[in-house]
Subunit: 399 residues, 2 copies
């Protein structure tokens, strides 16, 4: 039997999805599982998007262009303009979710053994796609005790080698909910400029900033316009993760040309999803505000409740709909498995993402988990109560 | 400005899609372009699939599982059973089109500098995905004069090195329409077994075999069950290329595990597409037969007409809906560009795929083009008449 690839072995399992089989088994045993593990919003997709699906009147579901429907890209131009991100239709390539945008960005910009610097904890799939492209992730580790703020510039400088090709940020951040300040982004801009790096900027949580200050995109940073590769997705903002529509946005002509070749190889992004995404941008201000307010309230509720559980600490996230919390436990991988395979409280348990998967180095973040606040408040309340009970019962607790 | 990756430079442009900008310009000039260049069937998607879209009554378009909806995989098991392909739900991973299945198969099985042997002319994107994964394509060249039959076993043996990891076939073949015989497939099986290789078998044109003999899948070849990675897609058989639903099917547990990690990284295949694909399998026998008969007739018509044009030769394809024809011209890349940028006959022209993109080695197949018979017969008639006129007018003609 022929052997699989080394990279197949090296690929990490998704820290978010690897526990799914255990959760399935728990459900089969009749246990109610509260999903705090995944960034799947529970809020309804906008009505305009649901209607757009019903209105589709095609006789053939044909390929769309490799860079996506022009009408969708035109609408995105206007959408970005509202955020003072000034790009043209030609700067936008529609991808199969933000995931594919990351993958194609890495394939287009990075060669095997090239290095990218990533502030950690970081979205686990950056590492996965880096492995896919043969590139190496060099982490700068941010700490929960400092609220996951950007580590000092010196730490970036120390990691720069002749193989450093880029920095990858996620802002607002998944998994920490951290929102970079103008000062921090200026630091990143300076390093990018000084060493002529790519800046891969994942901004899929743009809508969810809770500081009141105007949103800062990588495209707002002066002097690095040709270095920026923006990763976007409609998944989170319109609660439509399943349609798989994202975008790679860049002004760099060489990156565009290269990315298009990868896009042509996979033919086209999903047609129906694109039609839905296009309609979604007509979601009313009311819908967007309702969603926003809902997250604001859940955030307050979840963080307050978490910090009331003995031994638990969560910083206050300023964006997205996640937080990374520290728990009084020996090992969050073990704890999260135990929650699904052994524990139950009145027929209920909780599923969370162990933070180990968000750090490159082994052992870091061992007592941290990522929680997503994508449940209604009453469900959230029950989930956090079950978590409290679980921490009392867990044999590996440290208090 | 930072430099893009070496692989970004090395990636080929799609031979099928690279002429699109020229076609767009021709259309903007008011010219009617007959598309013989792309495998986008013009036949309607089955009514059950169109209805399934209308019947979707979700409030949230959520992520689906990384390996796809279970109900879709269950239905595929039954579908395959009709072709005596005996696989289980666990053997099937749903992908974003057949394209992603090829990509994930290569990433899972091949390391940089590993080699795969590919009978050529071959679907251009195998090379594209090989470049993406860092693997190297070693072509065995089949010849138009022998009707593109499989080259002798010795030619495969000559290419085997310690880095050879697999053979990639497409059966029925894109671009040639060739259908491998049992004897040829046995040869492939023997090489695969002897050298313990992966057999990547792209069988997306399974429905379109015009010999009357039962279809032969790679899974029918005895003794290599763990070596086979089958690539599939619903795109062609149900005329729904735009929904982006395919499958990677394997009994090899290690490949499954590895592929699942790549699937988790990209989260999930398109939800709506999967719902449509599932419904499509209920397409009536009448629909399937109508489609089949339509292609049978177009095939006869197109091949007959092509061979009547002075200097043109096309073998008779036994499967799929393509043929590779030899034209009396200097260079098919130039000719196909010229067709779109310079030529017109009564406001019409023809778009075809230059065969150069289907061969790894430069200069091979220089006077060949791929034509897809995905137009109604009257349109096909006009297209072939325009092609005849173009060949009379082309400055680089060789007769």
């Amino acid at each position: 039997m022929p052997k699989i690839s080394g990279r197949g072995f090296a690929m990490p399992q998704s820290p978010i999805r690897k526990l799914v089989p255990l959760a399935d088994k728990a459900k089969a045993r009749g246990i109610k599982v509260y999903h705090l593990n995944i960034g799947q919003p529970d809020l309804p997709t906008p009505q305009v998007a649901l209607d757009a699906l019903k209105d589709i009147d095609l006789k053939i579901f044909e390929y769309s262009p490799s860079d996506g429907l022009r009408s969708l890209r035109e609408k995105l131009v206007k959408y970005y303009a509202k955020y003072k991100i000034n790009v043209s239709v030609e700067d936008i390539i529609i991808t199969t979710g933000g995931s594919e945008a990351v993958n194609i960005a890495f394939l287009s910009c990075l060669d095997p053994d090239d290095e990218i610097i990533v502030p950690e904890p970081a979205y686990a799939n950056y590492t996965a796609f880096a492995i896919g492209s043969g590139a190496i992730v060099r982490p700068v580790v941010s700490s929960i005790d400092e609220g996951f703020c950007l580590p000092p510039v010196e730490q970036f400088e120390e990691l720069i080698t002749p193989r450093t090709k880029g920095i990858m940020i996620c802002n607002p951040n998944n998994p920490t909910g951290y929102l970079y300040t103008q000062k921090e982004l200026n630091h990143i801009r300076d390093i990018v400029k000084k060493h002529d790096l790519f800046l891969f900027s994942d901004e899929v949580y743009r809508e969810f900033c809770y500081t009141g200050a105007p949103y800062i995109s990588a495209f707002h940073l002066k002097g690095i316009e040709n270095n920026v590769v923006l990763i976007d997705s409609v998944s989170k903002r319109y609660s439509e993760c399943g349609i798989r529509v994202g975008a790679l946005v860049t002004k760099n002509e060489e990156v565009k040309k290269s990315a298009m070749k990868f896009c042509q190889a996979r033919l086209s992004p999903p047609l129906i999803g694109q039609i839905i995404a296009e309609a979604s941008m007509d979601a009313s201000d009311e819908y967007m505000l309702d969603v926003y307010n809902e997250y604001v309230e859940r955030r307050k509720y979840m963080i307050d409740e978490l910090n009331r559980i003995p031994g638990v600490y969560s910083p206050i996230p300023m964006g997205a709909f996640y937080t990374v919390a520290r728990l009084p436990i020996d090992d969050s991988d073990k704890f999260c498995e135990w929650l699904l395979s052994t524990f139950e409280y009145e027929g209920q348990t909780v599923m969370m993402a162990p933070a180990s998967g968000f750090y490159t180095n082994k052992g870091v973040g061992r007592n941290e988990v990522r929680l997503a606040y994508v449940l209604q408040k009453d469900e959230l309340a029950k989930a956090l109560f079950v978590l409290r009970k679980a921490l009392e019962a867990y044999p590996g607790r440290t208090i």
